[in-house]
Amino acid sequence: MKIAGLLLTILLATGLSHAKDYLDCKFVPGWEQSEAKHLYVADNLWEYKDGAAEGYLQFGFVRMQGISCKSGGDTLTIDVSEMTDADSAYGIFVANSDPNLPVVKIGMGGQVQQQSANFAKGKYYVELVVVAANPNSNQTATLEAFASRIEALLEGRTTAPEALEWFPKQDLTSTRLVPESVLGLRLLKRGYQAKYRQGQAFIVQEASPESAADVLKKLREKFEGVPAAQVADEAFQAKAQYLGGICIFRKGRYLGGYANLPDSKQAVTLAAKLADRIP
């Protein structure tokens, strides 16, 4: 731990990234810094997050910088994680958000609760947690004030990933980035998934139409001789034990489709609509 501490001290001393810019307890009057700033990289994030570190790494975690603040008996911890890109930051934001709460406009999206808040902007994912002397106190105003100051200092995209707009809106309940193995299939490496009242849809971007065609071919082999479907450039349909009625298509370098529907015909119909929306 001594060595890890030394490492962090050195990292901070080098002025790595922009810690001094967006981590400041004095953003909100009445708050003071209570501990030295902390910094974690992929190699030692587990020291801070235990097993939950895996969830960060899965989304392309690069480093996390943070600060602890104090106001009376209340403490506030702010952690700013730098991810590999804005899509990854948005992905981890959604993964850590409460699907039952509204998303507010902070950066690409955020949520503010009574004692915690999170949001993503550009390649940054920000978490704020208050541990209040009165566990029932409402810290929303404080959290919003800090979030607003930090958001203004972070650079990067303020809109959600474009691909999310391609999912049909009717009966849509949620969307998310799946960092690996979409639908539990290793061949579908990383993509966006939309959940509907019935079934789910996905979009995976491959490097080229050729690599997308190769993945589709391998998927079709997995499903063993299933029939083709007339959707986009090429497609197949199937009924699977754990994925229900399914249709997977290729359009250019994109793979998309529907799963978990009562039958594959319905999946084909919906997949065609999704394919039409992909540019």
Binding site: L7, I10, K49, D50, G51, A52, E54, G55, S181, Q241
Partner: protein, 390 residues
């Protein structure tokens, strides 16, 4: 640790899993409006052990749900017969618990379900427990862990009181502690304390004999031991194309690492993370095949590959360099570049050394005063860092 079926009996009975490679062509695709998959619904036979004093019979391969991308993988694992599933309140701010609860559905009562709390006082952990019960859609947790404790001092009395209270209330069946660090001190303490039923420990082939001993002490005291981080983590980190590390991806290495832990009699079950059907199928093989001489050779070869390259941050080299270099730190900077492809990060850190330290060149020393007990070739590695970053 009691085994329902000895390994010898298990093997002689030919309990080889017929689902090997199932995700690729079998079992998965039970078509009703498409073709019928070959071998679908072929039953899989599994290996069970008793989880210490809990008396629970658990499959030696459990399921770490933390990074699972789709509930269908969990659902299928439960259908196959894996019966131990692990999550935590903190994973994805509780979204993981919600997903696991939905995936296990009506099967939940036939399964052993564990979750964890990271909170640090009695009121907060009990609040977490109620939230976990709600999110997992269950009225009891089989094993409730105090999450990520690294020393006896972190396991406060009020946390133990909370676990005992939750037991009395019927909200949990058994109390546990999960630990990634300080395990060799924590496990004997837990064994002596006598109030913990299960320990969830980081355990893999790269660890020293002290960890074997600590697990033995825990198991002898009646605690059930669950292994995590069984793949040694390092297998996932290296980037393709880094010549010295490519061999870590050798076929069979991950399975051998899993089998190594399952082969340990003190460990009742393991919870490797599984993200997809293919990984589930691969891991199932660990119960079908014993840890063999070839596995041992494979892991030994990996250790030899790792040994000269990887610093374990044990701290034994602190102050050993006659030129005052913080050796472990410099080795870590090199790992950023060589192991993780983060050259800029490695260099940034290296440039944070003092001017005196940065000016040191290991090639100038006739003999290195730093002898790594784990076999890291310190002089060569630090010299490489100097060449790369200075």
């Amino acid at each position: 640790m009691e085994s329902k079926t000895s390994r010898r009996e298990f093997l002689s009975a030919g309990l080889m899993l017929p689902v090997m490679g199932a995700g690729s062509k079998m079992g998965l695709w039970n078509a009703t409006d498409g073709p019928v998959a070959k071998g679908a619904n072929t039953p899989a036979k599994l290996e069970y052990r008793t989880l210490g004093r809990t008396g629970l019979k658990v499959t030696t391969l459990g399921f770490g749900c933390m990074i699972t991308s789709d509930p269908s993988v969990i659902e299928r694992a439960a259908d196959i017969g894996i019966n131990y599933f692990d999550t935590a309140r903190g994973y994805q701010n509780g979204n993981n618990e919600r997903m696991v609860g939905a995936a296990l559905g009506v099967k939940r009562k036939q399964l052993v379900l564990s979750t964890k709390t990271h909170s640090k006082d009695k009121v907060s952990v009990l609040k977490d427990l109620d939230t976990s019960l709600r999110e997992l859609n269950t009225d009891y947790i089989d094993i409730w862990y105090l999450h990520g404790k690294g020393s006896p001092e972190e396991v406060h009395d009020d946390l133990i009181e909370a676990q005992q209270l939750a037991k009395k209330q019927g909200k949990i069946r058994f109390a546990g502690v999960s630990t990634h660090s300080g395990q060799q001190q924590l496990l004997p303490w837990m064994a002596q304390k006598g109030v913990f039923d299960v320990a969830l420990v980081a355990y893999n082939f790269s660890m020293d004999a002290g960890m074997d001993k600590a697990i033995e002490v825990a198991a002898k005291a009646g605690m059930g031991v669950v292994g995590m981080k069984v793949m040694a983590g390092g297998f996932r980190g290296p980037k393709p194309g880094v010549p010295a590390l490519d061999k870590l991806k050798q076929p069979g290495a991950l399975l051998a690492a899993l089998k190594w832990v399952i082969n340990k009699p003190g460990v009742a079950t393991t919870i490797p993370s599984m993200t997809d059907m293919d990984q589930l199928d691969e891991n199932l093989q660990a119960m079908a095949h014993p840890f063999s001489a070839s596995d041992e050779k494979l892991l030994a070869a990996h250790l030899e590959t790792i040994r000269p390259l990887y610093c374990r941050m044990c701290g034994e080299c602190n102050g050993a360099c006659q030129k005052g270099l913080p050796v472990a730190d410099v080795l870590r900077y090199l790992t950023y570049a060589d192991g993780y492809g983060q050259f800029a990060l490695g260099r940034e850190n290296f440039l944070g050394l003092t001017a005196e330290q940065a000016a040191v060149r290991c090639g100038d020393c006739a003999e290195c005063t730093v002898q790594c007990p784990h076999g890291v070739q310190v002089q060569g590695r630090v010299a490489r860092a100097q060449e790369l970053f200075a």
